[in-house]
């Protein structure tokens, strides 16, 4: 393979790894949006809390596996808390008001993280040690394989949850028709709580699996949250499949942009994608039709 060819392959593979993270965060946006109509701009802070809590628990002596699980559950709980404390009291307010509330929640959560952990970056150990996987002269580090594996596993799990369990179907029912849901005894308020909790848990996993690669910091959530938002928008904001496609697309383009053009423009790529989307296909790639 030519040098350029193997470089491109390397960028694409790195893009898939980081795209998997964006996809998980984007799914978080989609789950909350479908059930409540809210775009939750505190999504990135759930990512950050996942990573930070995992680091702290691990450093406090928990074995890595236990720390990861506990960090995910605690962040899911934090999602529930945000819904009850910030969103539920404003449920009669307009959707735009509720979206602004999530921006406020995100600033508050970042502030709390700054007070707890300070500005230092924290390392989380890789889930496994070993040589990187080499595919045609391009390499993926072991943690990258974990990211891809965990993302795939969660996608399969989510699909089973939304299509095989009554609770998952009830969540979709709320997204399709909230009046119909209410009239069938499905508490839309409880489903809103569940969607925040589920979505926070998913984002926590994203933060945890990326932390061994990028380190965890109190402000890691802002950029990751925005990238996840772009990915969700690219996918049309209502479809999980769309979020996955959007996440991978943003991840790969960003990685190619950084490698081929300049690494200084890495973060700009996602927003160029968003701008292009708004001009060319405002409803998103899989926009409007498919849901949950």
């Amino acid at each position: 393979m030519t040098l350029l060819g193997s470089q491109i392959l390397q960028y694409v593979l790195s893009g898939i790894v980081v795209g998997g993270i964006y996809a998980l965060i984007a799914i978080g946006f989609v789950v909350i949006f479908n059930v409540t109509g809210i775009i939750n701009f505190a999504q990135g802070e759930f990512v950050m809390f996942g990573g930070m809590l995992a680091v702290s628990l691990n450093q406090a002596g928990f074995p890595l596996g236990g720390a990861l699980l506990a960090a995910t559950l605690l962040t899911a709980l934090l999602g529930a808390l945000v819904e009850r404390a910030a969103i539920k009291p404003a449920k009669t307010a307009s959707i735009s008001t509720q979206i602004i509330i999530t921006i406020g929640a995100s600033i508050a959560l970042r502030g709390i993280a700054l007070m707890i952990w300070g500005t230092d970056p924290y390392p989380l150990p890789s889930f496994s040690d070993g040589p990187p996987l080499v595919v045609a002269e391009a390499a993926v580090v072991q943690q990258g394989l974990w990211v891809i594996g965990v993302t795939l596993l969660l996608l399969v799990g989510l699909h089973a949850f939304f299509h095989r369990t009554l609770l998952g179907k009830a969540l979709r029912a709320c997204a399709y028709n909230s009046v119909g849901a209410l009239l069938n005894g499905i508490s839309v308020s409880r489903m809103s709580l569940l969607s925040f909790s589920l979505s926070a848990g998913l984002s926590a996993v994203a933060g945890i699996v990326i932390s061994p690669i990028t380190y965890a910091t109190y402000d890691m959530g802002s950029m990751l949250g925005l990238k996840g938002f772009v990915a969700a928008m690219v996918g049309g904001l209502t479809s999980i499949q769309g979020a996955v496609v959007g996440g991978l697309l943003v991840g790969i383009l960003e990685s190619l942009g950084a490698g081929v053009v300049s690494s200084g423009y890495k973060d700009a790529v996602a927003f160029l994608v968003l701008l292009a989307l708004f001009f060319l296909k405002p409803e998103g790639i899989l926009g409007g039709k498919a849901k949950a």
Partner: protein, 252 residues
């Protein structure tokens, strides 16, 4: 005798706009009570107020011996009051079976899957066409089938009182007849029914009693036989013909 439903002096509306003005009506056990009236008379709002989608500002709503005026919709559902709303509000992308299963959501009397499937079986017995459509997405059904699914979904709980909002509007005559037959059949099974209809002739053909609503008020009440003798009812709703046709239950 205890009423199935007692609405007394209920006023309700949306935002600052008042729609219902001091509505009082009653549904006895095993009755089919019709509410007729023109578009905008407040019929749908009345059903929404009973099922908790719209809050009553004044007055009281009782189901049997419980006051439900300020209950949340999902709690009202659990008390056995099921509202089949205008526009059916099905879960379009979900299958017919899933729509039915969600109809039993939160019904604690249906603890295990077997009990739920037995209920599904009962619904399929009432609407055999739904059995054939079992795995089909709800939004691919015909209008009549969608209405049957909406009623079937409302029968998945432990239903005591069924609130039907124009269940026959826009349907072919044969389907209308089938739905009316189901209404009569449900009554024989002990379910009380509050039926909202614009088509008074149709409503009177199955109702034991009826109320006439105009601009948010109940203006007349009585049996269909009494109401058709009223000039205003004849002129406004029956095309001035005093003939009353009773729908008879056809045997399957």
């Amino acid at each position: 005798m205890v009423s199935m439903l007692d609405v007394s002096g209920v006023s309700a509306g949306y935002g600052r706009i008042g729609v219902l003005k001091e509505i009082t009506l009653r549904v006895g056990p095993g009755e089919i009570v019709a509410i007729v009236g023109a578009n905008g008379a407040g019929k749908s709002t009345l059903l929404k107020t009973i099922s908790g989608l719209v809050r009553a500002r004044r007055g009281m709503i009782r189901v049997e011996d419980q006051e439900i005026t300020h209950w949340a919709p999902e709690k009202i559902v659990r008390s056995g009051v099921r509202h089949v709303p205008e526009g059916r509000q099905l879960f379009g992308p979900l299958s017919v079976l899933d729509n039915l299963l969600l109809g039993a959501y939160g019904d604690s009397t249906l603890a295990n899957r077997k009990a739920v499937m037995a209920r599904v079986e009962q619904v399929y017995e009432i609407f055999p066409i739904l059995r054939q459509r079992n795995a089909q997405r709800a939004n691919t059904l015909s209008g009549g089938e969608q209405q049957m699914l909406a009623i079937g979904r409302a029968l998945m709980g432990t239903t005591k009182l069924l609130l039907l909002d124009e269940p026959t509007t826009g349907l072919a005559p044969l389907i209308v007849r089938e739905i009316l037959n189901v209404i009569l059949r449900l009554r024989r099974q002990g379910i009380s029914i509050l039926l909202v209809e614009q088509n008074a002739r149709l409503a009177f053909s199955v109702a034991t009693r009826a109320y006439v609503m105009e601009t948010g008020r109940v203006v007349l009440a009585g049996t269909p036989e009494q109401l058709i003798l009223e000039d205003t009812v004849r002129k406004a709703y029956l095309g001035n013909s005093p003939k009353l046709i009773r729908t008879e239950v056809t045997q399957r």
